[in-house]
Amino acid sequence: MAKKIFKRILQIIPILIAVTFIVYLIMSLTPGEPARLILGENASQEAIDAFNEEYGINRPFLVRYFTYVKDIIVNRSFGKSWRTGRDVMREVLARFPITFYVAVFSVTVASLIGVPLGVISAVKQYSPIDNILRFISMLVASFPPFWLGMILVLIFALGLHLFPPNGSDSARYFVLPVLTIALPNAASFLRFTRSTMLETIRQDYIRTARAKGLPEKKVLVGHALRNALLPIITLIGTSFGRLLGGVVIIENVFALQGLGQFALTAINSKDIPQAMASVIFLSTMSCLIILVVDIIYSLVDPRIKAE
C-alpha cells in the first residue's frame, strides 16, 4: 500500500513538468511586455532595458525555462515577483490559508446540505418533497456565483446588518462567501447524490437485504448509501480541488486575499514568477487531493486497491 502511494506521488512529477512547461510557454508567447506593464507607460527605454536585463527576459525561451527549473531544483527558490520583488512562494503560502479555509468550509457545508437532502430526494422519489428539492436545486445551481454573492450581501450585510459585506478580519467575514460557494455546490451534490442513490437502490443486493428482513434504515444507510458514497466522494474531492484553485469572482466580490486573485494579477501583468508559483502550487495540490480521494476510495471499497 505504502509503495503504491509512493509511486503515485512520483507520478506527480511528470505532470508538474508538463503543466509548468505549457504555462511558461503560453505566458512567454502572449503579447505584452512585462517591463512596460510593471514599470508603467512613462518608463524610459533605459529602464525597460535594465528591467529586461535584470530578469533575463530577452534570452531564448528554452534557456529561460531551464534556468527557472534549475533554480527550483538546485536553489529551492521559485524566484521573486517581477512586480513587487517579494519571494513568490512565501506569498503563495501566505494566501493559501484563506483559500483553504473557504474551500474546506464551503465543501463541508455543501456536503452537509446536499448529500442528506439528496438521499431524502431519492428515497422519496416523485413525492412532493422530491419535486420541491429538485426544483430548488436546479434554481440554485443556475445562479451565477457573483450574483448570488451580491444578493446575499444586499440582504444580510447591507440590509439586515448581520454580517460585514466584505473583508477577512474575522470568522464572521467568511459566512457570506462560504454560503455563496456552498449553495450552488450543495445543489449539484444533491442532484448527484439523488441519482447515484436511485441507481444503487435498484440493485439486487438491496432487494436481498430487504428480503432478509433488515430494517429499512439499515438497508438505506448501511448498504445503499455506503455503495453510493463512492462516486459522491469523488465529486466532493474534485470540487474541493477546484475550489482550492481559488474562486476569483468570490475573492473579488468579498475582498478576500486568496490565490485566485493572486494568480490573476500575475497573469495580467505578465509577472511570470508569481504566475508560475501559483500554478505549480495549485497543480500539486490538485494531484495530492486526487490521490487522497483514491486512498479513501480504497478504504471504503475493499474491492479497489490504490493503483
Binding site: P31, L39, E41, N42, A157, L220, N252, F254, Q257
Partner: protein, 509 residues
C-alpha cells in the same frame, strides 16, 4: 431518522450563524482613532523614487514629502524647501531648506538627503522627465542645494513637486537594503510613518508625533485594497472603510445611504479618441475632421457610463482652471452633412472600412459602441477590436490602430507634460504617430521659455494646431467620485491624492 438528523444539522447551522452575528453586531459607531481608505489596487511599491502607479503614490504621499508642493488649484508652494531662487538663464535652481525637520528615524533632514534622493530617482528609470531635464544636483551646504538643468525647463518647479522627487533618508535606505521597496522603515519626513504592509490586504501607517508641521489629528491610517469597484462601494456602504473612490454606477445607491456622501471631483484623467496619423486614411486631416463632426461629445460621455456625473465634456487636455486653457478651440458640434462633404473631398465619397481599438474597460467599450453607430451614419463601416490592456498598449505603440479610444492621465498640470509626450514626433507616448515639425519646434520653445506670457502664446498656438488637425479628439474629463462617511472631514483632490493629514473626524454627540 434521516429527517431527524437533517433537522438537527439545520439547527446547528442556524445557531452557528446566529452565534456569529451576536458575537460582533456592529452599530454605526466608528473608531475615531483611525481612518480606513479603500484603494483600487494594491500598490506595487512604497519607494517614492521608483514609482510607476497612482495607487503606490496615494499611500507614499503620506510618508514622504518633496521640496515643493502643488495645491489643488495648481499653485506651487514651499514644503521642505522654504524658499528658492532661479538663475537668470533658467538653468540653476537654488533651494533653501527647512532647518528643523527630522526623518522618522531621527536623522536630521539635510541637503545631502536631497541630493541622494534626486540622484536615486534619476538613476532609477521611472523618472524620465527628471532624467532628461536635470543635469546635476549639488550640495552647497547643509541646508542649501542646487539643481542644474540641461536646458531652461519652464515647468521645472512642478517637477520638483512631483511624486518622483520626494525625499528619502539616505541612512534609512542604506539600513533597509533590498527590502526598502516595500518596507521603507522610518525613511520619510511626512505626517505618517510606515508600520506594516500585509500583502494583498492592507498597509498601515501611524501618526508622526514629531511631524514638523504639527502632529496629525488621526493616529492611524489604513489603506485597504479592493480590486473590484463594486466591492469597494459596498465596503463604504457597509462601513468597512470610511473613504474610497467609487464608480458612477454606485453614485445613486451611496447618496441614498444614510450617513454616506459622494463627492464629485474632476480628475486629471481624460478620455480621448485618436488616430494613426501616419497611415491612410487617417493621415488626411479632412478624414479626421469628418470623424470629429459625426458626433457630439456629450453623447459620447453619456454613452460611457450612462451617468452625467461621470465627467465634464472638454475639447482639450488642459484643465479648465489652468491659465493655459484655450477658450477659442473648435468643438466640432455634430454636423453630418459637413462630415460627408469632407469625406467626399478627401476622396472617400462612399466611406471605407476601418477598426476602432480599445481596452477591456467598460466605459471605453461603451463609447466605442456608440462611435460605431455614429461612423456608420457617414458611411464609415468600423468594427470594434477589444484587447486586453497589455496587448492594447502594444498595438498603440506599434501604430497598429487606425482609430483608438483611450485615456490620458495628466498627473501634472503644466501643459508641457501632456503635449510634449503625446505630440512630439518619436516620443513613446505619441501613439497617434504625430509628425509635425512646426509643432515640434513650438513644443521645444515652449518648454524652454520662462516668460509666462510668451508661454501662453506658444501653447495657444500649439493647442490650436492640435485642435485643427484633430490628431486627438478629446472627449471628456473623468470625474472621481469619492464615497465617504459623512462624519469625515477632508479635502478631495483632483490629483487623486489622499492627504490623510487633512482628514479628521467630526462627530457630534
Amino acid at each position: 431518522m434521516l429527517k431527524q438528523s437533517i433537522i438537527k444539522i439545520t439547527l446547528v447551522l442556524v445557531s452557528c450563524l446566529m452565534m456569529f452575528t451576536l458575537v460582533g453586531c456592529s452599530g454605526q459607531k466608528v473608531n475615531t482613532d483611525q481612518i480606513k481608505f479603500g484603494l483600487g489596487q494594491e500598490p506595487s511599491t512604497l519607494d517614492p523614487n521608483m514609482m510607476s502607479d497612482g495607487y503606490s503614490f496615494q499611500v507614499a504621499a503620506n510618508i514622504f514629502e518633496g521640496l515643493l508642493n502643488i495645491t489643488d488649484d495648481l499653485k506651487i508652494e514651499p514644503l521642505l524647501a522654504k524658499d528658492w531662487s532661479i538663475s537668470d538663464d533658467g538653468l540653476i535652481y537654488t533651494f533653501f531648506l527647512e532647518e528643523n525637520v527630522y526623518f522618522h528615524n531621527g536623522e536630521h533632514f539635510k541637503a545631502s538627503d536631497v541630493k541622494f534622493s534626486f540622484d536615486r530617482s534619476i538613476a532609477g528609470g521611472y523618472n524620465s522627465t527628471g532624467k532628461s531635464v536635470i543635469k546635476e544636483t549639488k550640495v552647497i551646504d547643509d541646508f542649501t542645494v542646487q539643481v542644474i538643468l540641461q536646458y531652461p525647463y519652464a515647468p521645472a518647479l512642478e517637477l520638483f513637486a512631483s511624486q518622483y522627487m520626494r525625499i528619502v533618508s539616505e541612512k534609512a535606505v542604506e539600513d533597509c537594503g533590498n527590502s526598502f521597496k516595500y518596507e521603507p522603515i522610518d525613511a520619510g519626513t511626512g505626517p505618517y510613518i510606515y508600520v506594516n504592509w500585509i500583502s494583498g490586504d492592507k498597509i498601515t501607517l501611524k501618526a508622526n508625533e514629531n511631524y514638523w508641521r504639527g502632529k496629525p489629528t488621526v493616529s492611524r491610517v489604513i489603506f485597504k485594497f479592493y480590486n473590484d469597484s463594486n466591492t469597494r462601494a459596498v465596503a463604504v456602504e457597509g462601513r468597512e472603510i470610511n473613504y474610497a473612490s467609487v464608480s458612477a454606477a454606485s453614485y445613486e445607491t451611496l447618496m441614498k445611504t444614510e450617513g454616506i456622501n459622494v463627492a464629485v471631483v474632476p480628475s486629471m484623467i481624460t478620455n480621448y479618441l485618436a488616430f494613426n496619423c501616419s497611415e491612410k486614411p487617417f493621415d488626411d486631416p479632412r478624414v479626421r475632421q469628418a470623424v470629429a463632426y459625426c458626433f457630439d461629445r456629450k453623447d459620447a460621455q453619456l454613452a460611457g457610463t450612462g451617468n452625467p456625473n461621470s465627467g465634464t465634456v472638454t475639447n482639450q487636455f488642459i484643465a479648465k482652471n489652468s491659465p493655459y486653457y484655450n477658450n477659442d478651440l473648435n468643438d466640432y458640434a455634430e454636423n453630418l452633412d459637413k462630415a460627408r462633404e469632407l469625406l467626399a473631398e478627401a476622396g472617400y465619397p462612399d466611406g471605407f472600412h476601418t477598426q476602432i481599438y480599445t481596452s477591456n474597460a467598460n466605459t471605453l467599450k461603451n463609447i466605442a459602441t456608440f462611435l460605431l453607430s455614429c461612423l456608420k451614419k457617414i458611411g464609415i463601416e468600423a468594427e470594434m477590436v477589444i484587447q486586453e490592456q497589455s496587448a492594447f498598449n502594444e498595438s498603440m505603440r506599434q501604430g497598429g490602430c487606425p482609430i483608438f479610444l483611450y485615456n490620458y492621465n495628466g498627473f501634472a498640470a503644466d501643459p508641457d507634460f501632456c503635449f510634449y509626450s503625446q505630440f512630439y514626433s518619436g516620443n513613446t507616448l505619441n501613439y497617434a504617430k504625430v509628425d509635425n515639425k512646426e509643432l515640434d519646434k513650438l513644443l521645444d520653445e515652449a518648454r524652454a521659455t520662462i516668460d509666462e506670457n510668451r508661454r501662453k502664446e506658444l501653447y495657444a498656438q500649439i493647442s490650436t494646431i492640435v485642435n485643427d488637425e484633430n490628431y486627438y479628439i478629446v472627449l471628456y474629463n473623468m470625474n472621481f467620485l469619492y464615497g465617504y462617511d459623512e462624519r469625515l472631514e477632508g479635502s478631495f483632490s483632483s490629483f487623486s491624492r489622499i492627504n490623510a493629514y487633512d482628514f479628521k473626524w467630526n462627530i457630534d454627540e
